[in-house]
């Protein structure tokens, strides 16, 4: 899987690449509008991460260029502007998702995972690991072919973890994934523990190996 990161902030771009590479994605970087146009013109990507404010041009023009090429790559806009108009405009122009800065790497990885899955595995709507199988369409979770019932939040957490294998995910990132933007407004995200604990209990009771590991004081890691 090849990903193009169009982002002028080099530190951020490097982090995104490092994080995604461990998920077995191949990342390329573009820092300016011209570089971005040159790269999307010359190569094909599975997913493009697009910053809206670029030196030398507008991110939305890059999106326009991409859509005119009629390629199948997924596009996720990452923007510091966080304006509803930009979001609506971007999505109308064919972007698949919109993520406002600052974001957690885990959230971005989950979105990339979801976009790529939608584009490339149109018919395979399930993801699996060992005896664990998750049907993304019906939202059914099976362990050793036996259905287990998770709450909506537990299900969302499970999919989030599976899209961020081998990475440490903080409570804050989990809370933000569950509650959206409002999570930003609180310091205490302890309620996440309860949901994770219940999910873990249900999986283990059904005979699923212990994939989820608690990283003391920080968060959790899903082992592959």
């Amino acid at each position: 899987m090849k990903i193009l990161v169009i982002e002028d902030e080099r530190e951020l771009s490097a982090d995104i690449c490092e994080y995604l590479q461990l998920q077995n994605y191949r990342c390329e970087q573009a820092f300016t509008y011209d570089e971005a146009i040159a790269k999307v013109n010359a190569y094909e990507y599975d997913c493009v991460l697009l910053d809206l404010m670029l030196p030398g041009g507008q991110g939305l023009d890059v999106l326009d260029f991409l859509k005119k090429k009629r390629q199948e790559e997924g596009v996720i806009i990452i923007s510091a502007k966080d304006s509803l108009e930009d979001k609506i405009k971007g999505l109308q122009m064919g972007a698949d998702d919109y993520l406002a800065k600052p974001f957690h790497q885990a959230e971005l990885a989950a979105r990339v995972y979801s976009v790529i899955r939608r584009k490339h595995f149109k018919n395979a709507n399930s993801i699996s690991q060992g005896p664990l199988e998750v049907n993304l369409l019906s939202q059914e979770v099976k362990v050793n072919e036996a259905k287990i019932s998770l709450t909506k939040k537990e299900y969302e957490l499970l999919v989030f973890f599976m899209g961020n294998k081998n990475r440490v995910i903080s409570k804050a990132a989990l809370a933000e994934h569950l509650s959206g933007d409002v999570a930003d407004m609180f310091d205490n995200h302890d309620f996440v523990y309860a949901h994770v604990k219940n999910m873990k209990k249900k999986l283990i009771a059904a005979g699923c190996p212990k994939y989820l590991e608690t990283v003391y004081g920080v968060g959790y890691r899903w082992e592959s």
């Binding site: 510091a80 800065k101 885990a106 509650s179």
Partner: protein, 428 residues
């Protein structure tokens, strides 16, 4: 407080009254003097005529006594009496008051008299000429009366004229006042002052326009500055957050380290929160949420309560809901959600553990109340960066956002503390 125009009017009226009161005795004295001058002149003329008449009678060889009694009878204004003893050296002029007969009644009258010494057939006689003068009090009363009438005329005139002036000249001033009252820095509307041909008003308008322009510029610069600063901060905050995420991945984190990391994360969360809210405020002020659509307030409120369900649960808050099933209104979704969310977040953040939160929605208002110990300063809580003493980690901007959003849409936000509850109501 009295109106500007009434102050000089009052002064004018008192001054006019003073002048007119003073003028009455002066008029009286002047009139009296003219009177006496004229009467004295008249008395002298009478005396001269009498002298020549008496001279003619004398030359006709009439008897003196007979002539005297005839004279005194025919000329009631004059009187001739023979003089004995000391003869007066000069003529004398004086005023007397005595009873005078008017037909069948008599009254006290004033007379101006002239005593002259004349000789008839070598004998000295005293010729007295007297003329009736108007009584002093009658003159005075007449003058005072006329003065008073003129005073009334003057006053009526002054009041009418000043009203007229007020209508004409001050309209422009009151218009200016109205324009100033309706001016608001955040509205960014130009103030157009009325045309005027009065120099002072013109210069007032000029000064006000300059002052307003300066303030608008300063306000815009400040707004732009906050907006730019928070935009510029977005990227470093994003990098910091990303770095923290990466930091977890590569290190074996010990318990001690995790505490520090947690503290960094909390502070980072706070910076990001403040920055986000500042950007939101700038957007509200820039009227970026003008689009209106039909909203089901009930649905939006329920959705947001559900979204925050975990946070209500984390504090074990007792949630009392009284929400009408459907309530459709025109409005901007983002703004409405901002108001609802910030009030809900506020109620969670400031409730004690196991506290109570009451949320109700009726046809015209949303009420969100949470339990608390002491009332807050209702004047200050909607200002930016007003922190409650018990919680320093919130952004201090949530209620300011609510305030701005409500102001933007013309909704009324109010706060009261009753029955140990902080009650926030939004009327729309």
């Amino acid at each position: 407080m009295s109106k500007l125009l009434n102050r000089p009017l009052k002064a004018f009226i008192f001054y006019a009254l003073g002048v007119l009161i003073l003028s009455t005795p002066v008029y009286y004295l002047v009139v009296e003097n003219i009177w006496f001058d004229e009467l004295d002149e008249n008395n002298i003329i009478v005396r001269e005529r009498s002298k020549s008449s008496l001279g003619r009678l004398e030359s006709m060889g009439k008897d003196t006594d007979e002539m005297l009694s005839l004279w005194n009878t025919l000329q009631p204004n004059t009187n001739l009496t023979p003089l004995t003893g000391d003869l007066p050296q000069r003529d004398s002029v004086f005023t007397v008051r005595r009873e005078a007969q008017h037909g069948d009644y008599s009254e006290l009258d004033r007379f101006r008299c002239l005593n002259s010494l004349i000789y008839i057939k070598g004998k000295p006689y005293l010729l007295t000429v007297e003329t009736n003068v108007e009584e002093a009090d009658e003159t005075f009363v007449a003058i005072a009366g006329v003065t008073f009438v003129f005073f009334l005329v003057l006053m009526t005139g002054l009041i009418l004229i000043s009203r007229q002036i007020s209508k004409k000249i001050w309209t422009s001033f009151y218009l200016t006042l109205d324009r100033l009252r309706s001016f608001s820095l955040s509205d960014q509307q130009q103030v157009q002052f009325p045309e005027t041909d009065i120099e002072e008003f013109q210069s007032l308008h000029q000064s006000l326009t300059d002052l307003i322009d300066e303030n608008v510029t300063a306000y815009n610069q400040q707004k732009k500055f906050i907006e730019n600063a928070s935009h510029e901060l977005q990227t470093p905050i994003a990098v910091l957050r990303s770095k923290m995420d990466m930091f977890f991945q590569n290190l074996k984190i010990t318990a001690d380290m995790s505490k520090e990391v947690d503290a960094v994360n909390v502070s980072l969360g706070r910076i990001s929160r403040i920055n986000k809210n500042l950007l939101l405020l700038a957007k509200i002020e820039n009227k970026q949420f003008a689009q209106e659509e039909t909203l089901d307030i009930s649905q939006i409120l329920n959705e947001n309560i559900e979204m925050l369900g975990d946070y209500f649960g984390a504090k074990n808050l007792n949630l009392e809901l009284d929400i009408v099933p459907v309530l459709e209104k025109q409005g901007n979704k983002t703004l409405l959600e901002m108001v609802i969310n910030n009030l809900l977040i506020n109620s969670i953040t400031h409730s004690p553990q196991e506290g109570k939160v009451r949320i109700s929605l009726s046809k015209s208002q949303i009420v969100i109340a949470n339990s608390g110990e002491n009332p807050l300063d209702g004047q200050k809580i909607f200002q930016r960066f007003t922190h409650s003493p018990d919680n320093v980690s919130n952004s201090g901007l949530g209620l300011a956002i609510v305030w701005e959003a409500c102001k933007n849409k013309g909704w009324q936000i109010s706060y009261v503390f009753e029955e140990k509850m902080h009650v926030f109501s939004v009327n729309f």
